[in-house]
């Protein structure tokens, strides 16, 4: 019994998990400086609903039991009670004001994208994501950007009639079916990262539950959002706006690493980009002669 209660509690308060768990019952607390806001708000609002629910449904069940004709109940005639009506108009307003206060605080902090230390451009395509590293610590990043799409194992497994078992698509013992990509977005921890998010064809929505928010990727619109991840790890999410037939197959993976590791990774990427550019120039330069 204790074990059951403990499991239920763990499943409900899924604070320790960054990624979906089997039989998870509640939101994740997330791993960023802000992601606790929706989690806290969710729990408070849920608590309020449970209390109101107990009162309202309790009154209903009592009356269903007490005021049955079969128990000889005789109907009363009253249809008004000013005090009661004032009470159940007033009390909800007070509760709403408290919730509004909490929610407004969360909104204001989310809207503040100032003071960011790096910028990532996210572009939604049918049906993959593109990440471009725009700047880091005040310096422009040259030519670091890549497409990120569903990993090959998930993609083969998800074909209609593939006969393959989605349960076998795992990474480090965690099932990553439809939640893994070929190139994850690599981010440093303890860094305020600003995202600029747009869409290339139709509307998509960039959502990693562990970061605590989603933001639509809309063609012709550049939305901004921010995150500051506290713990290293791999955080998985999915496109959250219907974007066509493969909407369910364009996951998002964020790999959060310590700053030093990130800087090393970024330097490698920049070097590779330079090498690639050099080799491309070498290849394309003689071309006009050949066409001569």
């Amino acid at each position: 019994m204790k074990a059951v209660a403990a499991t239920a509690l763990a499943l409900f308060g899924g604070a320790v998990w960054a990624n979906p768990q089997p039989d998870q019952l509640n939101l994740t607390k997330g791993v960023t400086t802000w992601s606790g806001e929706p989690y806290f708000l969710n729990n408070v609002a849920f608590g309020v609903c449970v209390v109101i629910g107990i009162v309202v449904f309790g009154a209903m069940f009592i009356s269903m039991f007490k005021f049955r004709k079969s128990r000889g109940a005789v109907a009363e005639k009253w249809t008004h009670n000013t005090k009661l009506e004032a009470l159940w108009t007033g009390v909800p307003i007070i509760i709403l004001i408290v919730l509004a206060k909490l929610a407004t605080t969360g909104l204001v902090s989310f809207a503040d994208t100032t003071g960011s230390e790096m910028t990532i451009k996210v572009t939604g395509y049918q049906w993959k994501w593109r990440y471009d590293y725009v700047d880091y610590q005040g310096k422009a990043v040259e030519k670091v950007g890549f497409m990120s799409k569903l990993d090959g194992r998930s993609d083969r497994t998800r074909q209609l009639g593939s006969g393959m078992d989605p349960g076998k698509v795992t990474v480090d013992g965690y099932n990553t079916y439809l939640l893994d990509v070929d190139h994850p977005l690599v981010l440093p921890i303890n860094t305020k990262v600003r995202f600029v998010i747009t869409g290339a064809d139709v509307i998509h929505s960039w959502w990693v539950p562990a970061l605590g928010w989603k933001m639509d990727a809309i063609p012709g619109v550049i939305n901004s959002a921010w995150t500051n991840i506290k713990e290293p790890g791999v955080y998985r999410g999915q496109c959250a706006e219907l974007c066509g037939q493969d909407h369910g197959f364009m996951p998002i993976v964020v790999k959060a690493v310590p700053k030093a590791e990130f800087e090393q990774w970024l330097a490698t990427q920049q070097d590779e980009a330079k090498l690639l550019k050099a080799s491309q120039t070498a290849q394309t330069a003689p071309a006009p002669k050949g066409q001569g």
Binding site: C49, S63, E85, W88, L160, H247
Partner: protein
């Protein structure tokens, strides 16, 4: 008695001619509010099963991870058409059918104010849905961009012209129906049927009809812009041509939010009639109930962008729409508290209509709770477009709107058909439905909170258990509705148990003063109103 002038000689001929004998003449050319009401209800029930079959495809594909049955594009067609058929084909026509049948009977009018237009508003519907559903059999396939038809995605579909035309037809039908209802309520009430003595159901429809007239043209405008963007080179929603995809969402939800109240306000009205009947106690706070409906209707116009918290609205807009949305909880709470207080101190019996109404109050309130949670913008950044939202709107639309319609069908079926339905099977239908619908939709809250987006045909293994439970509930709920079909057919054609004029002991209102089944023509002469006969005859002023 209310129909005191019943056998007055000079009205004799007019009052007693029955329906035309010819089938086509009776049903196709009908201008009789009862026959048109029946047509609407039969149409809605048919669409309920068609839309339900699409839901069965969805739940079957989601039974376990991996794609087993359908291609993702077809899955999207199913989600899109399930919504369009259920909203425009099942819920709305069912309410219009109930309005047609009951409003003239409840206010003491001989028929709807505009009977020929009534015929046209109904007969547009089958054509609209033939056009819409025919796309499934065409090479380009059906609409697959979601019922909200967001561009640019919806413009990629080849069926947009059909969908738009169908939406136009439905819109014209709804607008004409709404005009008819307003005209009937404002002009055709029997002398003495003051506005504040009308049944709450009539009030709810009066307000709903104004919402329909206000927003259906907005939807028509939005989809027309989609059409011209697709075929006539305009760029309303095309960013590359200077347009804005977000503009569509603003226009759509300016229609869409009042639309969701169009689907729930008449349900409030129905439940406000049924609970007093079976509690044998007048409704608590009649005027508060009417005022709450009007407040909700007003608020519905200023909350649309809460469907768009994730499109990147400015912070000020998010705060405004969040506060306005939260305000809706107050009048909605008043309604729920009033229903509960109506039950308190009553003398209750639990026939099938009452069971469905009680389930409505409880389960609709659960949908309201998740609605309150969704209103909180920072939390909505997590909930938006997940199964949490799916659970929310199915609680308000299935256990809300659909349960109220089913309750209404059981409540007034004896009046319509003259026969009592089988109470045992009614109760079996109730218990089977109320258990299965929770097995179906409650786990979807968990799926959404755990991170499962909506409108996806396949999912990670972490979501497997709750999806399987939900699917089992879905098949069970679907099968349960076949019981309903059986009960209705039995009651109409085979039941031997005749209903008295007043089918329920505690029932009040003009509709119970006419014979069962209600004759083809009623109230050819306005009834003399006796306030004691009305459900709300003695309202304190």
């Amino acid at each position: 008695m209310a129909h005191a002038a019943h056998d007055q000689h000079d009205h004799h001929d007019h009052e007693h001619h029955g329906p035309p004998k010819n089938f086509i003449e009776r049903w196709v050319f009908s201008t009789n509010h009862k026959d048109i009401g029946t047509l609407y209800l039969v149409f809605a029930l048919t669409m309920f099963f068609i839309g339900g079959s699409f839901a069965m495809v969805i739940r079957a594909e989601l039974f376990k991870p991996g794609l087993q049955l359908v291609q993702p594009y077809f899955f999207n067609e199913m989600t899109t058409l399930h919504a369009l058929v259920m909203i425009f084909g099942a819920i709305m026509p069912a309410f219009v059918g109930l309005a047609n049948w009951m409003i003239p009977l409840m206010v003491g009018a001989p028929d709807m104010a505009l009977p020929r237009m009534n015929n046209l508003s109904f007969w547009l519907m089958p054509f609209a849905f033939c056009v819409l559903l025919s796309t499934l059999f065409m090479p380009g396939g059906g609409p697959a961009g979601g019922w909200t038809m967001y561009p640019p995605l919806s413009l990629q579909g080849e069926s947009i012209a059909y969908t738009v035309f169908a939406v136009h037809l439905m819109g014209i039908s709804s607008i004409m129906g709404a005009i008819n209802i307003i005209a009937t309520i404002l002009n055709m009430r029997a002398p003495g049927m003051d506005l504040l003595k009308m049944p709450v159901f009539v009030w709810s429809w009066l307000i709903t009809a104004f919402l329909l007239i206000a927003v259906m043209p907005v939807l028509a405008g939005a989809v027309t812009m989609l059409l011209t963007d697709k075929y006539f080179g305009t760029n309303f929603f095309n960013a590359a041509g200077g347009g804005d995809p977000v503009l569509y969402q603003h226009i759509f939800w300016f229609f869409g939010h009042p639309e969701v109240y169009i689907m729930i306000l008449p349900a409030f009205g129905i439940v406000s009639e049924i609970i007093p009947t079976f509690a044998r106690k007048p409704i608590f706070g009649y005027k508060a109930m009417v005022f709450a409906i009007a407040s909700i209707a007003f608020l519905s116009f200023i909350v649309w962008a809460h469907h768009m918290f994730a499109v990147g609205l400015p912070m000020g807009a998010e705060i405004f729409f969040m506060y306005a949305t939260m305000l809706i909880a107050v009048p909605t709470g008043v309604k729920v508290f009033n229903w509960v207080t109506t039950m308190w101190g009553g003398s209750m019996t639990f026939e099938t209509p009452m069971l469905f109404s009680i389930a409505f109050v409880i389960l609709f309130t659960i949908g309201g709770f998740s609605g309150l949670m969704l209103a909180l913008a920072p939390a909505d950044f997590q909930y938006h477009d997940t199964y949490f939202v799916v659970a929310h709107f199915h609680y308000v639309l299935v256990t809300g709107a659909a349960f109220a319609i089913i309750a209404a069908a059981y409540y007034w079926l004896p009046k319509w058909s003259g026969n009592m339905y089988n109470e045992t099977w009614g109760k079996i239908h109730f218990w089977s439905s109320v258990i299965s619908v929770n097995v179906l939709f409650f786990p979807q809250h968990f799926l959404g909170l755990a991170g499962m987006p909506r409108r996806i045909p396949d999912y990670n293994v972490a979501f497997a258990n709750f999806n399987m439970i939900s699917s089992i509930g879905g098949f069970w709920f679907g099968a349960s509705q076949l019981i309903f079909l059986g009960v209705v057919i039995h009651a109409v054609f085979f039941s031997k148990k005749k209903s008295p004029d007043r089918s329920w002991e505690g029932a009040k209102g003009l509709e119970w003063t006419v014979p069962s089944p209600a004759p083809f023509h009623t109230f050819a002469v306005p009834p003399v109103i006796n306030d004691d006969e009305l459900a709300h005859g003695h309202v304190d002023h």
